[in-house]
Amino acid sequence: MIAVLALVAGVALGIVFHPTVPAALQPYLPIAVVAALDAVFGGVRAKLDGIFDDKQFVVSFISNVLVAALIVYLGDQLGVGGQLSTGVVVVLGVRIFGNVAAIRRHLFRA
């Protein structure tokens, strides 16, 4: 519940302040958001499984974001940033689909 409130508060802050993304972060922010989305879905799934762990969630969240951004940064340095970010998005999308499938099975038994 508090987590949902925090999420809503973050969304509200983003809407209210409407900051501009710094140019240096612009290639990495979308990937980081997708990675965070994957972590959030994983956390929800773990919660539904009853095996949620705070520390694990925090660490996985941060590491997901950082690793995703790092991969994209590395790709940019190597000149394959576009392809590598596409690959990261694909991998994270597969994981998100898996997590959502588990959540769906919990919620709807189907």
Binding site: M1, I2, A3, V4, A6, L7, V8, A9, G10, V11, L13, G14, I15, H18, V21, Q26, P27, L29, P30, V33, A36, L37, D38, A39, V40, G42, G43, R45, A46, K47, L48, D49, G50, I51, F52, D53, D54, K55, Q56, F57, V58, V59, S60, F61, I62, S63, N64, D76, G81, G82, V94, R95, F97, G98, N99, A101, A102, R105, H106, R109
Partner: protein, 318 residues
Amino acid sequence: MVTPAAEVPASPGSAPVAVRYVRPAPGAALAPEPEPPAPADDEEPADDEETTRLSPPAEETGDDPERVTPETGAPSVREKEEEPPTKPAPWRRLSSAGALICVLLALFGFTLVVQLRSNDGDQGLATARQEDLVRILSDLEARDSRLQSEISALETSQRQLTSGVAGRQAAQAEADKRADELGLLAGTLPGRGPGLVITMDKVKASAILNAVQELRGAGGEVMQIAGANGQTVRIVAASYFVDAEGGGIIVDGARLTGPYLLSVIGSPQTMQTALQIPGGVVASVNSGGGSVTMEQRATVEVTAVRQATALQYAKPAS
């Protein structure tokens, strides 16, 4: 999913460890589900690299439930928000990790919104990569050249149409001029110009015909003949002259009486000379008892007109 909680219903918040510690085994996480083998289809592919690492207490990516080992499953009892009925005051036990989760989620929502907002504006070029920018630029250049060629094609067709308009106007003027000339020749238009006025008296139709042919040969362009009875007939290529019974002549169906006034437009000097050559029209008429007088005028009016005849058989060959 809270089926284990039913085993210890009498411990609301005192011993949460006992409550959550019921299923420590990794495989048991999915045990209460109706279809235990179900996760094989879409859960395992995402986590196969982590399930191999089940033995160590892997805790770097907590979003995968299969990897939760017994000792990491133990701290998972701190699920505050999930069971408000069994734990009545979740906010009181907001640990540092929970606060960090909240901060992270708020940050996540914040960045999500920021990214969404920054993505739907016109900042698509600002966030694009270099190769994308190059591709966009080349696309725009190709489109530019395409539009340029279209512009030139349209300008060419515009020029053609404009010249077509001018040509059509010129053709119209030419056609009008031709129509005027042909109208004069066909006798459908009245004419005016320098010429001769010839008065012939006591002559036969053949003498008038000779005079008309001589005048045509001398460049006479438009002619009319008027009788003393007021009849005026335009002389064209198809005109005929017949002697009428009881005097006078019939020209194109109209009966004329003498003296006849023949008005002709053309070069006055040339026509007069042509009529006066020895043995010509004037000489033959005089020898026949008739009289011919000619008068050169700067302006001769030919007012008689004919109805245009619709050709019945002849068609243009071209």
